[in-house]
Amino acid sequence: MIRETLNARRLLCPLPVIRTQDKVKQLKPGDQLEVICTDPGVMQDIPAWCRINGHKVLEIRSAEYEYIIVLEVC
């Protein structure tokens, strides 16, 4: 299992979702991806993308004006 971080700061939705989708394609089941964003829209969009594509959201948190989502590739 590897854990990678994706810097999606300053990108507006749906670009953080697209970058997440593209990164996940390079990962294997069980790998984890931490996505760091500044668009609050990701709080809905990335979990929705995970639900329809069968991936698991492990953590959602916000700090200052950043939004961090950790997902596990399934």
Binding site: C13, P14, V17, I18, P40, Q44, D45, A48, W49, N53
Partner: protein
């Protein structure tokens, strides 16, 4: 035993594409969605930036539709490829800078490429004859099918009965009798169909889902091209057209004035790429200066900036000017007087 047929549906996030996909799914076809991001999609962007829109849901409607339908959605970044569609539209622009017919041909062509790569059987769109003045007309339907290369693998379930049978209908992959004959701009047939399917929450964007159909946005895009003296753009250019008040006092520079805190916060991210201004003696907006201003131009920019802050009626205000390297200096400036900006400055 017949193998289950597979269709790729163009999902915009609106009601029509949702109903088109649902109509075909009801016939036992495996459907997946595809959504193209051109950089001009209205989807969420300004809602995410502007404080006044905070109450609006920040969902991506295409993702939401896919989830309601229970299908996969593939979101494809076409920002670079789309430039040629916008800059050189074979079929021209609509009322504003919207190249709707070329855009539809482009998207269906991209879906066709995807279909070939993934071994799917046909394409679904939510097009309705007469729904849109430029791209959804009786005469545009065969043009889109032909010039996209999709030909008769392009099925429009909502208006199929008004068109010649396509391959999926002729081959019996879908039952033509269960398709529809909707025409015109009325939304009533779609709303009735949504109710029948139990779909009671869907997006109904008043001006469509593309910034290029917006008169004010289009004016800013034309101004950008005129200033650059070329019809080229980068993603940051077109993102910044969505925020702030744009003022061009001289042909070689313009100001982007944050209208509220949310926009100011978003624009902070561009301070390494633009000279920025902010009043330091009174509260006021963050302003980015796009172009190549002289010292005299910066004084003018500072006086314009001052009129949007709380010091607008002061004799002079202190204005911090920060260059792209982060070096800051402060000048004193008299706020630009007058009820309105000189004619032609506001874009």
């Amino acid at each position: 035993m017949n193998q289950q047929k597979k269709a790729i549906a163009l999902i915009s996030g609106g009601l029509d594409s949702m109903l088109a996909a649902k109509t075909v799914m009801e016939q036992g076809v495996h459907v997946e969605g595809i959504n193209f991001f051109t950089g001009f999609c209205v989807e969420g962007h300004t809602h995410a930036i502007r404080e006044k829109d905070k109450a609006k849901p920040k969902r991506n409607n295409a993702l939401w539709v896919a989830e309601q339908l229970g299908i996969k959605l593939h979101i494809v970044d076409v920002i670079e490829e789309y430039k040629n569609v916008l800059i050189n539209p074979k079929h021209g622009y609509g009322a504003n800078m919207n190249p709707c017919l070329d855009c539809k041909i482009f998207m269906v062509n991209k879906a066709k490429q995807w279909l070939v790569e993934k071994n799917f059987d046909f394409i679904i769109t939510g097009e309705v004859i007469g729904q849109r003045p430029m791209s959804q007309r009786k005469w545009t339907m065969p043009i889109i099918a032909e010039q996209s290369g999709a030909d008769d693998r392009l099925l429009r379930p909502l208006c199929a009965l008004n068109l010649p049978p396509t391959l999926p209908e002729r081959e019996g992959w879908v039952d033509r009798e269960k398709l529809h004959s909707i025409t015109g701009r009325s939304r009533k047939p779609q709303m009735a169909m949504a109710e029948k399917f139990g779909l009671n929450d869907y997006a109904q964007p008043a001006g469509g889902c593309c910034f290029l159909t917006d008169k004010n946005y289009s004016a800013k895009l034309v101004d950008l091209w005129q200033a650059k003296q070329t019809k080229e753009y980068e993603l940051d250019d077109i993102m910044l057209l969505k925020v702030g008040r744009h003022i061009r006092p001289r042909p070689h520079f313009k100001l982007i004035v944050a209208r509220e805190e949310g926009e100011g916060r978003f624009m902070e991210g561009y301070k390494r790429e633009f000279i920025s201004l902010k009043c330091s003696s009174h509260s006021g907006p963050l302003v980015l200066v796009d172009g190549d201003p002289s010292a005299e131009d910066l004084y003018l920019a500072a006086s314009i900036t001052a009129r949007y802050g709380h010091g607008k009626n002061a004799e002079v205000v202190d204005m911090a000017i920060t260059d792209k390297d982060g070096v800051e200096r402060t000048i004193q400036v008299k706020p630009l007087a007058g009820e309105t900006l000189p004619e032609g400055w506001a874009i």
